[in-house]
Symmetry: C2
Subunit: 271 residues, 2 copies
């Protein structure tokens, strides 16, 4: 683990930071390959959008990139994490007028997930934990993640790789750490994230690149029964890449559709 | 500021603490008088209940009390804060099997709020920010507080002392940092906190002590229009004590009902 806190080597922050007190901040998790963050432009665009929505100062693109590269020097494969908070504040919820954000950049070596998950697919389950509807926070990768923690605590079986989550209306939102896509013919649908959920960087990437492969990708309201009826279901996040879903609660899903493998190939070709 | 982190003097925590990464923890804010935490038994009971709901180990009552008193020695009036997190964890939402909680206890000198607020009442406003419905987290004083941060950021006018919050159904829940009560005759009602909101320690205290004064106190679903129709509205939290509400969005509220002053007198007599 190598970390820079506001540009200085260190691994500790003030216990008075609003990131701890209120979860008042955002983060991103980024794959490192050959010392560089993958898909940096996509990551930065989402980080900047999330910061703006929470009225956090948007950190400089080149500064963040330089800090990641400094820590990732010589690293073949790893994970970078950026955490950006509203900094140390006096007691009380009000955003301090003079707040100095805290910027944490860390890099850890990491060998990736087992390759068979991307090839053969993963086993998922339905979580009992529902995501609350909060339009003001929906889509943001913020530090208020107790719902995800509760959902992920529902199972310990290592043969289950992810958990699908519904909102309080009973509509599909995401999996605990990934976005979800349903493929039917040449159409890909993914849940709207206007009420809850995290808008992953690869979701943005897929909207652009699925079209290049001739797929029509759209946001939709998705009921649970639609997953078993789809030609294919897959997941995305910046560390897993794209994982086909092989089964949901033990029920196998069709694996013949080429869409996920085509998108994986396109993604593998990206810097 | 004096702070103990897991019993050791210090003011820094690991940047890998799950309290920061996910808001995976709880807290309490406690008034200090003459070197002692006020209403400690009530505070501890709520802390323990919140910890149990998030599957956090419940810290020892006597240990916490001793740490607060150690830091508060000789302090006439102040504020203690306890923050309890699931500790440092590896990447990922899953609760680590071997997690070592982080326990932060801090004490700061503090002169209290202006006395006229408790005597003459406070001006409040309706917040636009709605609280999402999440039964699994409702009532817990956890570290996922972005909704409160957003609500409190809606105003800067120092003549406005608090903001009332509705849930997404349009029902009253709480104010940004306090619980809310409506008095009509000998009846006191306060919002149910089964969908959102924070269950303050004084709310528990009021349920017991309002009855001693002959009031019937109940939880209810409360629509905004009911506040202007009540004989009195008041707020509670452990630092403000009880504040009568003098006006809502500039509309004055009746101040003649004796309930709040009676309860303030009873509260003042508590250790």
């Amino acid at each position: 683990m190598a970390m820079l806190i506001n540009g200085q080597p260190g691994e500790q922050i003030s216990a008075l930071d609003r990131g701890l007190a209120y979860g008042d901040g955002i983060y991103r998790t980024i794959e490192i390959r050959q010392g560089q963050p993958r898909l940096w432009a996509w990551q930065y665009r989402r980080l900047a959008a999330d910061a703006a929505r929470l009225k956090l100062p948007v950190p400089n693109d080149a500064l963040l990139l330089a800090e990641i590269c400094q820590l990732a020097t010589g690293l073949e494969q790893g994970v970078a994490k950026i955490v950006l908070t509203r900094g140390v504040g006096a007691r009380g919820y009000a955003m301090p007028a003079d707040s100095q954000p805290t910027r944490m950049v860390s890099v850890t070596p990491w060998a990736g997930y087992p390759a068979e998950r991307a090839r053969d697919g993963v086993n998922v389950r339905w979580c009992e934990t529902r995501l609350a509807s909060q339009p003001l926070l929906a889509g943001i990768k913020h530090l208020n993640r107790l719902e995800n923690v509760l959902a992920r605590s529902e199972w310990t079986d290592p043969a289950i790789h992810e958990g699908l989550m519904l909102d309080t209306r009973g509509l599909l939102v995401e999996a605990t750490m990934s976005n979800v896509y349903l493929v039917t013919g040449q159409q890909i649908i993914t849940p709207k994230l206007d009420q809850s959920g995290v808008q992953g960087m690869l979701r943005d990437w897929l909207f652009v690149h699925a079209a290049q492969l001739g797929y029509q990708m759209e946001e939709a309201e998705i009921a649970p029964a639609q997953l078993q009826a789809a030609d294919a279901v897959f997941l995305s996040n910046s560390l897993i890449g794209l994982w086909p879903v092989a089964s949901i609660d033990g029920q196998p899903l069709p694996q013949a559709h080429p869409c996920c493998a085509q998108l994986q190939a396109l993604l593998a070709a990206e810097a």
